[in-house]
């Protein structure tokens, strides 16, 4: 038995949002009398952090501390329409809707504060710590709480906002495929190091180095969660997962986690991540959804690394020990490719 080391590369880009638009998201923002803000959505948090990232976006756009914002989702009686959490559209579409709703609420907040301070609203700004003050004169200020109380109980004014973000539906040309697909792309490039056992055909990924371009990491820890978990899923897709191991034949389909294989905690691969941020012009604070694309480059990078290690092209997923062994047999043994 020999362990052969291999190294493989892949690079990808990934379209953010429903490809051809027509997928609106709405958001509503309103304040309580003590100057805290509720964001009502019908977006879904599947673990990607929808509640958390929209909370940060709302706080940033309103100009108030994050502790003063709470996101309530998803109740169809209170949360306005949203297409859903898929196609990496959540942060992009809903984030933009939240910015717009927050912008409207902020405008009203500044107008209410202006009335109390007897200045023009356009001369006011927020300090992000719960105060509104005259630009350049921080001492001429009023708290957001006092502003909300004044609006609610003296001015008869709401501090609320509505937001919608819609990429209008576009069309595809039947003859040329001309279309206006998504408006921003995330990027990734990834190097996988692995070993292939030429006796068992087993592949063990030993290290991943990656560079992910995400527009802007709106919350760096949430992005990190996605990238680590997504790369793990990429390894799993490349080496283990299938509902039909004999595709297109349907026999031996797994029905439980004893048959449906995934890497466990002992198989975690050291993963060194670099995050690049080229903000997308139409994305909220430039942030692109990193959730889907992070798994994609891992699959071909592993296939390329297996070839680099033993000279077997596995063009069919998953790359099982059986496929590797069959390839080794067809080649008359391992043919390490070295590095160019």
């Amino acid at each position: 038995m020999t362990l052969h080391s291999g190294r493989g590369f892949a690079a990808i880009n990934y379209p953010i949002g429903m490809n051809l638009g027509g997928d609106p998201s709405q958001a509503l923002v309103h304040s309580t009398p003590d100057g805290k803000f509720k964001v009502a959505l019908s977006a879904i948090d599947l673990g990607q952090g929808m509640k958390s990232v929209t909370r940060q976006i709302a706080a940033e756009a309103l100009g108030v501390p994050i502790e003063d914002v709470y996101v309530d989702t998803a109740d169809s009686d209170t949360g306005p329409h949203d297409m859903g959490s898929f196609a990496s559209r959540g942060t992009h579409r809903m984030g933009n809707a939240v910015i717009r709703a927050a912008a409207e609420a902020r405008t009203q907040m500044l107008e209410a504060a202006a009335e109390e301070l007897e200045v023009n609203a356009s001369d006011l700004t927020t300090d992000g710590r719960g105060n509104i003050h005259v630009k350049g004169a921080p001492s001429r200020s009023i708290t957001v709480e006092e502003t909300a109380q004044a609006a609610q109980f003296r001015q008869g004014r709401t501090l609320s906002g509505r937001g919608i973000f819609l990429v209008p539906m576009s069309d595809v040309d039947p003859e040329t495929g001309e279309m206006t697909p998504v408006s921003c792309f995330a990027h990734a490039a990834l190097v996988v190091d692995l070993t292939v056992d030429d006796e068992t055909g087993e592949v063990e990924v030993t290290q991943i180095n990656s560079a992910y371009e995400v527009g802007r990491a709106l919350n760096p820890k949430l992005v990190e969660q996605q990238l680590i978990g997504g790369a793990w899923m990429g390894v799993s897709h490349a080496l283990y997962e299938t509902t039909e191991p004999n595709y297109p034949d349907r026999t031996h389909g797994p029905e439980d986690f004893n048959q449906y294989l995934q890497p466990g905690p002992g198989d975690a691969v050291p993963h060194h991540i670099s995050i690049l941020e080229r903000p997308a012009p139409d994305a909220p604070y430039g942030g692109k959804g990193p959730g889907e694309m992070c798994a994609n480059p891992v699959l071909p990078a592993i296939a390329n690394a297996v070839y680099n290690a033993v000279g077997v092209r596995c063009d069919s997923l998953p790359i099982t020990p059986e496929k590797v062994l069959r390839g080794l047999r067809a080649n008359g043994g391992a043919r390490p490719q070295g590095r160019l």
Partner: protein
Amino acid sequence: MKTPVTFTLNGADAAAFADPGQNLLDVLRRGVGDLSPKYGCGQGTCGTCTVLIDGEPHLSCLVLAETVQGRAVETAGGMANGPDLHALQTAFVEGFAAQCGYCTPGMLMAAKALLDRNPSPTRDEVIEAISGNLCRCTGYEPIVEAILTAARAPRNSVGSTV
């Protein structure tokens, strides 16, 4: 014919009537109202329903409810001491060791069983302890790190407040 079962749940007396063949997961969730253990497979292959029985981790979907008569059951729902989080919970919060959160209660129970009997586990011991608990979101690494962080925390420390 229903069978009465009495046991302690997170230190308090609990009682339920179990149907023949009814598993502990179902009795805890529907009979007692502790919703913290989750249904993930019903086959003992995913670990989301992990609870402690007399301090040992068990897959509650495979435990006949009647068999916990007179025993001590612990769930993630009872980990916090009033408003104070358990060190493991704090480490999961601060270490971003949960995404969708569905595997988290079972993961915490498996980790607690480990730390209760081995307060200073090695990385390999942590991995072994949670190897029956699947997570589809995190890639496991943040969970392993969080458990190691909790183990390094001062004994009997309390974490942040709920």
